[in-house]
């Protein structure tokens, strides 16, 4: 499974939006039902799925979906299809 697909699955689950299509340039404001609770849920869902821990700004803010993926790649998460 590609990194894109895994990230999308997590967002679909934590936002309870099974049909969500993620784009790398999306930020929180573009996501359905996004609020501070959704942010916490998304961060935790990603940490759980990828076995990583976000720190500092990575953790407190979601700049964009692309930035999240970049942070995951930096943490050594394999990306079979992209990157």
């Amino acid at each position: 499974m590609t990194l894109d697909a895994r990230v999308e699955t997590v967002f679909r689950q934590v936002l309870a939006a099974p049909d969500l299509q993620l784009q790398d340039d999306m930020s929180g404001a573009d996501l359905p039902g996004w609020d501070s609770l959704a942010h916490v849920n998304a961060m935790f869902g990603l940490e759980e799925e990828f076995g990583v821990r976000f720190v500092g700004d990575e953790f407190a803010r979601l700049e964009s979906v692309g930035a999240v993926k970049e942070a995951l790649r930096r943490k050594g998460v394999p990306d079979p299809d992209g990157g």
């Binding site: 499974m1 895994r6 699955t9 997590v10 679909r12 689950q13 934590v14 309870a16 099974p18 609020d35 501070s36 609770l37 916490v40 849920n41 935790f44 869902g45 759980e48 799925e49 990828f50 076995g51 821990r53 953790f59 407190a60």
Partner: protein, 636 residues
């Protein structure tokens, strides 16, 4: 386990098939989502299976949301009891509450949930006219964490402090009981770190020891009307360094790791189910490769593995776990495909059998279809099928029973017999509220005596509760030092926010330089905690009217009358500016229903009202300044 690994691991198991023995949570979720519009009953089936799978936060979060979207009435068909469960807590419970509804569904309860405001558990229980009691709950879950306990890092007078804290909690129980509802108390998970290190165990006054003692006292005090969930045990099993993730506490006031919430929900629901008479009463056991290793009909009495060697010891340990449950009051039965004589032989003749025949209330060994035997066992013991738990090592037999008798709970034993004992002891649905009738009576008498004492000696109404907090506020005009926090609050406060106007830092700075604008913040502390800067007001003078532009408060201090103190300050400012009226506006959003009537509650009169907003005025010349009763304001 990641999504990828889960998909990999289940390839051989026909994922999604109704006969799947151990579908992953992810598969259950997919099946439930597919079924949700076509066949809601099937969706409920898969949501219940999901609760038994290895939990992840994400799947539970999605499953709880899906459950909330299913049509009304879908869950009542799949359950035999209903309950109205209120959750009031000391931390963010927004994720826990829908999960509890999901866990309740699995436990056989059609639950309607209510979530109290953040951190307001005492106000909700103490206030006779609170929303909590208007909800008319059958059960009130006190979802509290160790941070809500008022022990210092070290207590100089441990006995007195323990007594006072115990009485604080039992008083809440007693009040809830007067309102005809049961309390489900989460006991306090201890963090497992202490500034005193190993010395802590010797010193009764360390916070760690005080919390342990409090948990013990709570256990002694809880009679038949208070249910307990032993969170310290759950946290220990989960791993305390994972249960307590301080990053999430600091970011979002999550006191329990989000992936520990499913287990907390399962156990809370199981305890409530026990109270509603839904606890399982009878364990029905397979024999070959379940109670011993090997097949007694083929291997012979001397050939089965029991008592010796790693495998034999594992089966012995499993039998001892079963005996422990019998000791607790569970009924044991046997259901095996065997010749009866072969099946009986180990019970009468094997030296290492721990279970004896007289431990078993109903014994059925034959070659008939297992569901038929299970029906007979239930009849013989005069139990409903839903009181049975069937335990078998064989996935095919489990699938047959699950399919034919959906009311019977099936415990899927792990492949390795060394893990059998733990799997059985971790099965949550044996929860009964009492051990024996005498035990209950004894506790009841004990509690009745104590109740009288605690009602005499402690805080029982909201007025004294607020007074005893000894709250102090600092109210002052905005300054550079506090500006970042003020900007943050204006930018993100949703619930206790009358107008939700998101002023930028630049706009706020311009208000600060304008003599027509009143700008004040409020910092709050009490006997137990310093809450920091929690409320902000902005108002503009227009001749004789002081018009409130922004009025908001952090939800962590809702229910403490801090808004009253801030309004009182605005009324003083208004008089200083020779205004005769204060005007307040409520602008409706999806999130701020909480403050819809705030101005009315503080003596404002409605001036105009439409769907988007209502405007209120307070006449200073008629009513005089607003006075705050509970908070000592320090001038700065």
């Amino acid at each position: 386990v990641s999504i990828e690994e889960r998909n990999e691991a289940s390839k051989g198991e026909h994922p999604g098939s109704a006969l799947a023995d151990r579908p992953s949570a992810h598969e259950c979720l997919q099946r439930a989502q597919e079924a949700s519009t076509r066949d809601p009953d099937e969706a409920v089936h898969w949501l219940r299976r999901l609760v038994d799978a290895e939990a992840t936060f994400s799947t539970w979060n999605a499953a709880s949301a899906l459950l909330a979207r299913l049509p009304d009435g879908t869950t009542s068909a799949a359950t035999t009891r209903s309950a109205r469960i209120a959750v009031v807590g000391s931390y963010t419970t927004s994720q826990f509450v829908p999960m509890l509804r999901l866990a309740a569904l699995r436990a056989g309860i059609d639950a309607t949930l209510y979530e109290g405001g953040y951190g307001t558990f005492e106000q909700e229980i103490l206030g006779a006219d609170s929303e909590l009691y208007a909800f008319e709950p059958t059960h009130v879950v006190l979802a509290v964490h160790e941070g809500s306990v008022r022990f210092e890092a070290f207590s100089e007078t441990p006995e007195a402090d323990l007594e006072a804290e115990t009485s604080r909690w039992t008083t809440l129980w007693d009040l809830a009981r007067e309102h005809g509802t049961r309390i489900v108390q989460h006991t306090f998970a201890t963090r497992g770190d202490s500034p005193f290190g190993h010395l802590a165990t010797r010193l009764p006054g360390t916070r760690e020891n005080m919390l342990r003692a409090l948990n013990q006292r709570i256990g002694q005090e809880a009679g038949g009307h208070t249910l307990l969930v032993d969170c310290d045990r759950l946290a220990a099993r989960f791993g305390k360094s994972r249960w307590f993730d301080d990053r999430y506490w600091h970011l979002a006031k999550q006191a329990v790791a989000l992936d520990a919430l499913p287990s907390l929900a399962v156990h809370t629901a199981a305890v409530i189910a026990g109270d509603l008479g839904l606890a399982k009463k009878c364990i029905v056991l397979d024999l070959d490769n379940t109670l011993w290793g090997g097949v007694v009909g083929e291997d012979g009495l001397a050939g089965i593995r029991l008592g010796h060697g790693p495998e034999g010891e594992a089966y012995t340990a499993f039998q001892e776990a079963i005996l422990g449950l019998k000791r607790r009051g569970l009924i044991l039965a046997v259901c095996s495909k065997n010749n009866e004589a072969d099946a009986l032989a180990p019970f009468s003749d094997h030296p290492d059998m721990r279970l004896r025949l007289d431990d078993v209330a109903s014994f059925s060994a034959n070659w008939r279809h297992k569901p038929d035997n299970l029906r007979e066992i239930a009849e013989e013991l005069d139990l409903g099928l839903d009181a049975l738990v069937y335990v078998d090592d064989n996935p095919a037999e489990r699938a047959v029973v699950r399919q034919a008798l959906p009311d019977v709970d099936v415990l899927a034993l792990p492949r390795d017999p060394a893990l059998y004992a733990r799997a059985l002891l971790e099965y949550p649905y044996f929860e009964s509220t009492t051990y024996s009738a005498e035990d209950t009576r004894r506790t009841e008498q004990y509690r009745a005596r104590k109740t009288v004492r605690s009602l005499q000696s402690s805080v029982v109404d909201i007025d004294s509760f607020l007074r005893e907090l000894e709250m102090k506020a600092e109210i002052a005009p905005f300054d550079a030092l506090h500006l970042p926090r003020i900007v943050q609050l204006i930018g993100k406060t949703n619930q206790f926010n009358l107008t939700t106007r998101r002023h930028s830092q630049m706009q706020i700075e311009s208000f600060m330089g304008d003599a027509c604008w009143v700008h004040v913040y409020l910092k709050l502390r009490d006997r137990f905690a310093d809450h920091g800067l929690v409320a902000v007001a902005l108002a503009e003078q227009n001749d004789a009217v002081l018009d409130i532009d922004t009025f908001l408060m952090s939800c962590r201090v809702i229910g403490r009358t801090a808004e009253r103190a801030l309004l009182a300050r605005l009324s003083q400012e208004a008089m200083r500016l020779d205004c005769t009226r204060i005007r307040g506006t409520y602008v409706r959003t999806e999130r701020n229903g909480l403050v819809e009537t705030m101005y009315r509650e503080h003596g404002f009169e409605l001036v105009s009202d439409d769907l988007q907003q209502s405007v209120w005025e307070y006449d200073l010349s008629l009513k005089g300044p607003i006075v705050n009763d509970y908070i000592a304001v320090e001038e700065k």
